[in-house]
């Protein structure tokens, strides 16, 4: 992301001081309210983890990492969640799920209220906040999860769903056709795989999108950094949740860098 800034690609160039401040505030909101729920949805919720996340990682990691790495990542995520909530005895369960999803739903409602009927959060051209929100919401929208409560809530917020689809269509044209993009393996249905399949082709698409203008800068870096890490499966690619497009976030060693 800083590479793009140094090369004078900066999506926040046109933002006023107040809009820049709002960006920071909304990013903090996402971090505090939405991210724990996303970690829970993909890594802690038993059905989702077993059917989708673990299966996907196990199929795409090389032998023998596929046996123990997903489990290790899962334990790490659970620990992060426990520390974030300040409760060492936290376990997956209905009550935790309700609380986390309630916070996430509130966060999504607030984002929806802020977005209103605009195309992007600050007018007609995207900024880093748009990339950040897209990065967090798109997996929720597109993945086929057994326990899809978050997804249902997101779908009920029309402007946010349209926002995500819009960004997908504009900057990831192949995926914009409802996940009909080429799949490298016969992975099971989940579209969570969509973002991670065929990394090479996705990357070139992202590069083309990136060349389209400076506004794509953070989107490009945001997504490309995912591709980079995703391709290097040995580095145990972080789930789409861990990376930040405004990275000053240091993830742990084997979880790759965001």
């Amino acid at each position: 992301m800083w590479f793009c800034v140094f090369q004078k690609y900066n999506a926040d160039y046109d933002l006023s001081a107040k809009e820049g401040a709002d960006s920071l505030a909304f990013i903090s909101l996402l971090e505090e309210k939405l991210k724990p729920a996303l970690i829970y949805t993909f890594w802690v919720e038993p059905k989702n983890y077993v059917d989708v996340t673990r299966r996907w990682y196990a199929e795409h990691l090389p032998f023998p990492l596929n046996f123990f790495l997903p489990g290790r990542m899962q334990r790490r995520r659970l620990e992060t969640l426990q520390l974030l909530r300040g409760d060492q005895s936290l376990e997956a369960g209905d009550e935790l799920e309700k609380e986390l999803y309630r916070d996430a739903a509130e966060c999504m409602n607030l984002l929806s209220q802020r977005l209103g009927s605009q195309k992007f959060f600050f007018g007609d051209s995207p900024s880093s906040l748009d990339a950040y929100v897209f990065g967090h919401l798109a997996p929720v929208l597109k993945s086929k999860l057994p326990n899809g409560k978050l997804q249902q809530h997101l779908k009920s917020l029309d402007n946010l769903s349209n926002f995500c689809s819009n960004v997908l269509l504009l900057y990831f044209p192949r995926d914009g056709r409802g996940g009909a993009g080429p799949k490298a393996s016969s992975a099971p249905a989940p579209d969570a795989g969509d973002f991670d399949h065929v990394p090479n082709k996705r990357r070139s698409a992202a590069v083309r999108a990136g060349g389209a203008g400076r506004h794509a800068g953070p989107l490009l870096t945001g997504i490309v950094s995912v591709q980079h890490v995703q391709r290097d499966a040995l580095e145990a690619p972080p789930p789409l949740l861990d990376r930040q497009t405004l990275g000053n976030h240091d993830d742990d060693d084997e979880d790759g860098d965001g």
């Binding site: 107040k18 401040a21 903090s28 505090e32 520390l83 974030l84 309630r102 802020r114 240091d250």
Partner: protein, 259 residues
């Protein structure tokens, strides 16, 4: 608080008016309380004063353990105990007192987002400086935190708390940051707050909201607390509108009481 408990508390809260005997508990002011707890406590006090709700401040050495969530401060109203600013705002709302009713949807979204900004950056920076910066932890935080207890309990509790906070910092990605980076983050946060405040008296123009209380609590405490270095206070002082904002709230809500 669990959802069921929260619903129950709201229902009970709505039933009774605010009593005169409401108390707010915090650790000992002179010897024990630390920067982050003091900031949170001041934020709640400011909020309650803005609502015009009387509350007595009581200092207890074991306030942290009395609190239902383990966080400071907590209030004891009637027969209910509520901790942290967020739940306390909900609680007072259930009793019919609210500062943010006049805001529209977009403003409310912005208010919540800025409150998370303060929690995410300012509060985390305060915790970092207190517990992850070795000189500060050794000279100020550990001695103060464990001052009510005798050896060896004092050592055990202080190191346990430090270990807990450091683990949390690692989990959220602040473990690898240097002090300079943390100061930069604080500056960035203050810049955002300063830009949002502009020349208005409060963040949402004429009337204060819980955001004003929260920002006041943190900034005022940082400005008036002695740490090993004055860098943090200096960073805030460079934003004159934030300074006058703090002064204004102090004069309006805190000096009246003493006169």
């Amino acid at each position: 608080m669990s959802l069921a408990a929260e619903a129950f508390v709201s229902q009970m809260a709505a039933a009774e008016p605010w009593p005169e005997s409401a108390t707010l508990y915090q650790p000992l002011k002179e010897d024990q309380i630390l920067l982050s707890d003091c900031a949170s406590s001041l934020a709640v006090q400011a909020y309650l004063r803005m609502c015009g709700l009387p509350v007595q401040v009581v200092c207890r050495a074991n306030a942290e353990y009395m609190s239902p969530s383990g966080k400071i401060p907590f209030i004891h109203v009637g027969n209910q105990v509520v901790s942290e600013l967020g739940p306390i705002v909900q609680f007072t709302k259930a009793k019919g007192h609210s500062l943010s009713e006049g805001l529209d949807d977009v403003q409310r979204a912005e208010m919540k987002a800025y409150m998370e900004l303060v929690n995410n950056m300012l509060l985390t920076a305060e915790l970092y400086i207190q517990w992850c910066d070795d000189p500060t932890a050794a000279e100020i935080s550990r001695p103060r935190y464990s001052s009510p207890y005798s050896w060896p309990l004092s050592n055990i509790l202080a190191y346990q708390k430090q270990w807990e906070v450091r683990r949390k910092m690692n989990a959220i990605g602040w473990g690898g940051k240097t002090l300079e980076q943390v100061y930069e983050d604080v500056s960035q946060c203050c810049q955002a707050l300063s830009q949002r405040l502009g020349t208005q008296p409060y963040f949402f123009n004429k009337q204060p909201t819980e955001l004003d209380a929260l920002v006041f609590g943190h900034l005022f405490t940082i400005l008036t607390t002695r740490l090993t270095s004055t860098e943090l206070a200096e960073r805030i002082k460079s934003y004159s509108n934030l300074l006058s904002f703090c002064r204004r709230i102090e004069q309006t809500y805190f000096e009246n009481k003493s006169s």
